[in-house]
Amino acid sequence: MKDINLRYIEGEIRIPSACGLLGYINKKGELTSGYHIVSAMGVMRERGNGLGAGFAGYGVYPDREDYYALHLFFEDNKAKEETSSLLYKYLDVVQEEKVPTRKVRTIKDPPIIWRYFAKPKEDYIEESETTEDDFIVDLVMKINSRISGAYVFSSGKNMGVFKGVGYPEDIGEFYKLEEYQGYTWIAHSRFPTNTPGWWGGAHPFSLLDWTVVHNGEISSYGTNVRYIEMFGYKCTLMTDTEVIAYLIDLLIRRHKLPVDVVIKALAPPFYSIIDVMEEEERRKMKAIRAVYQSCLLNGPFAIIVGFKDGIIALNDRIKLRPLVAGENGDFVYVASEESAIRELSPSPDRVWMPRGGEAVISTLEEKGVLV
């Protein structure tokens, strides 16, 4: 069994999976405990098979909000030492510790799970003439692709990803999520077709403060990967979700595209719709489709993207995977199933089914309209 797990380890092969998604935001930025999302995931137990689950919380590290919170999995101490020396070389680390966990009967063989609060040393930023974010991205890529047995699974500020192999309730308990407070929470439960040998394969997938949870199998994967690789991203995990996270990072952070344009690049309207648009809009849409053709995500998917200012949920163009949205007061919810929304909010003001390619975007009110 051990050998098989080694051969079919995530990152060596691509493992298709089905999933359950859930996410919510309080638009006023009020914090809620991780307890709620963990228990709400319980109603979608059927959508996973205990082989991967994870959460992301935003606003969970208010005391360290100016520092990148790097969460890492280490297979052994050697990987940890190697990584640590790299991190201390390039970063000012203000705090490092084991991520607090508790023993859970069903969670077996967890890796070493460690977190560092740090920021890039100014010398290196000046020397490489880069931004702090780019510097962190490069460092994450370097660790994930070069250091065997080490994997950065969370790298944003004032946010954190908590994931592993297990059912969501167990992973939530393992990480003591009830002790964290966040204004946005995102969760994922996974039904992979193979046994992923490794915790890094669970969702959310994250880079800087972007997190993605995803249900689906991207048939455009080969096209998307080869596109993103041209911009220096290295897809080490071979998961669709990783590619989606990188695409979003590229389009929003590096190409500085407005969010609605990014949505149109990932899940563009059909030409039959574009053809009847007003001329200016048509010109714009055709340009997006032509220039960002390799960003189109094809095949079935529902994704929830979290970032420091809000959440975005999106379906593929013909809605081949479920996605439902709800609203109650300052809360906006998105989920694979309405039941999960009603678990969080028994009688929401509104529940609706977004159309294929139609995004649900909700942001913190103080942040106003997204650029």
Binding site: I13, R14, P16, S17, A18, T193, G216, E217, S219, S220, Y221, G222, T223, R226, Y227, E229, M230, F231, M238, H255, K256, L257, P258, D260, V261, P268, F270, Y271, S272, E280, R283, K284, K286, A287, I288, R289, A290, V291, Y292, Q293, S294, L296, L297, N298, G299, P300, R317, I318, L320, V371
Partner: protein, 502 residues
């Protein structure tokens, strides 16, 4: 001199069926069939037969069949019939062996060693009968990124693009190498289906101006037919550096094919050989190419894409990268199986490399250099069917060019005698008597039928892969698997072997 060259074919006539209507006599421009009045029977001189099947197709009683001459040389792997006969021919003429169409030798056909993926369970296939399926393709330079103002208006100016409804264009075939009716058939099919045809280096005949909006006009080393009206007429301009059938040499149109119309269109005297030089005499290096690209862009006020066509040769990826950097909006790569109206046989059969390998290596190189997204790639030279198109696009092509397939749709039987100008199907000829055999109404319908049929098949296969827009197949080599290929071939093609998972 007594010829030792025995005929390639035998014409077999069923005397019980022959009604002496003499259709075959009138139809065969090679004068194979003769009516013997004294004996009241039609006789055949098989030595002149090229195997084009025109007589077979038109014989009202189906009395004729053509077979390969069963005459056997002593079996010999080294000295095949072809090897021996080629020597007889050269010993008798002292000339370069000429031929038409593409390389017919037994080299590997990589298309047939690649298999296409389909969805099962974890990813639903999409049914093109019930869901939209998009094949729209843009050919032209694209900026690396778009910029928008604070109101969300697009600021970036998009360079001119060709907009294709199907990812298949008709490749360059000049008026001269093919007949005006063949040109018109393809031009009209392009209009109908929403794709483009290519003038080749033959200029644009007045009769074809109505189809100019769907024409890619070629500027080749001979500059035949090139003036400002010609450049402005087309939807795009293609600089022809080379072609797959004869890399390293220029075009050749024998004087016999240069009648009044060809002469006017090419702007050369009647009856002169139209021999374009091997290189462009103003391009001796990559920076010269850049000058020509920008001279042409200037000439058309940057309103049309300017592309460059090259033959697939050993160093094709580095050359393509240079062409992209020189400012080309698209690069057409023509593989060694690409056809031609006339080429020296030794060059056709021995120079160049397969398009599959060339395409894969160009696409990979342009990606490594971060250029791929900015320039379009058109793959040409041996696309036989819709599966080949799918495979080309998965390897990295934006679109493909077809020419041999298009001519076959018009009735070509691949007899490889285009260079003689005696095409019985009215395609590769300028003889008015032969040309009128190809009715452009019917030709246009046959050519557009072919594109429509392929379009349907591509949609079916795309849907099967769980893809509903062609761009998601582009460069998606995970959708391909190799069979019977060695490690090196798989590495160059960038595909895994069948049996390996994702």
């Amino acid at each position: 001199m007594k010829s030792l060259y025995e005929s390639d074919f035998l014409v077999i006539r069923d005397e019980t069926k022959c009604i002496r209507c003499k259709v075959c006599v009138r139809q065969c421009a090679n004068e194979v069939h003769q009516y013997d009045e004294e004996e009241d029977r039609v006789v055949a001189d098989s030595s002149k037969c090229v195997g084009c099947h025109r007589c077979v197709a038109l014989c009202p009683t189906k009395a004729i069949t053509i077979i390969k001459n069963p005459l056997e040389f002593r079996a010999n792997y080294q000295w095949t019939e072809r090897a021996i006969k080629d020597i007889y021919k050269q010993a008798e003429t002292g000339g370069i062996l000429l031929t038409g169409m593409g390389n017919d030798k037994n080299y590997p056909i990589y298309w047939d060693r690649l298999l296409i993926n389909a969805s099962q369970v974890t990813n639903p296939s999409i049914d093109p009968l019930r869901e939209p399926m998009e094949l729209k393709t843009f050919i032209g330079r694209k900026p690396e990124r778009l910029e928008f103002d604070s109101y969300g208006n697009l600021i970036t100016e998009i360079p001119p693009q060709l907009e294709l409804e199907v990812p298949i264009m008709f490749s360059a075939m000049s008026f001269g190498s093919i007949s005006i009716n063949a040109c018109e058939s393809l031009a009209r099919a392009s209009m109908e289906v929403g794709t483009f045809w290519n003038t080749g280096e033959g200029g644009l005949h007045k009769k074809l101006y109505p189809y100019k909006d769907r024409a890619i006009v070629q500027c080749a080393s001979g500059r035949f037919g090139v003036d400002i009206d010609y450049l402005n007429a087309g939807a795009a301009i293609e600089i022809k550096i080379g072609q797959g059938a004869k890399p390293g040499i220029g075009g050749h149109l024998p004087g016999e094919k240069v009648g009044e119309e060809v002469s006017k269109t090419r702007m050369i005297p009647i009856g002169t050989d139209a021999i374009s030089p091997a290189p462009h005499h103003d391009i001796y290096s990559i920076e010269d190419l850049r000058q020509l690209i920008y001279a042409l862009k200037e000439a058309v006020s940057y309103k049309k894409p300017v592309g460059v066509k090259i033959a697939a040769v050993h160093n094709v990826s580095a050359i393509a990268s240079g062409i992209a950097r020189a400012g080309a909006d698209f690069i057409a790569i023509d593989g060694f199986r690409g056809g031609t109206g006339a080429a020296p046989m030794r060059i056709r059969d021995n120079v160049g490399i397969p398009i599959e390998l060339a395409l894969a290596s160009v696409d990979t190189r342009l990606r490594e250099e971060g250029l791929r997204n900015q320039v379009s790639i058109v793959a040409a030279g041996s696309i036989r069917n819709s599966a080949d198109v799918i495979k080309a696009i998965a390897l990295g092509a934006d679109a493909v060019y077809i020419a041999t397939s298009a001519l076959v749709a018009l009735g070509c039987h691949l007899c490889q005698n285009c260079h003689t100008g005696r095409c019985n199907w009215g395609i590769a000829t300028q003889d008015p008597y032969l040309v009128k055999r190809l009715n452009p109404d019917i030709g246009a319908r046959r050519a557009s039928n072919l594109l429509r049929a392929w379009e349907h098949e591509i949609k079916e296969m795309l849907g099967g892969m769980g893809i509903n827009a062609l761009e998601s197949l582009r460069g998606n080599r995970l959708m391909l698997r190799g069979v019977g290929l060695n490690e090196k071939e798989l590495e160059i093609l960038g595909v895994k072997h069948a049996g390996e998972g994702i």
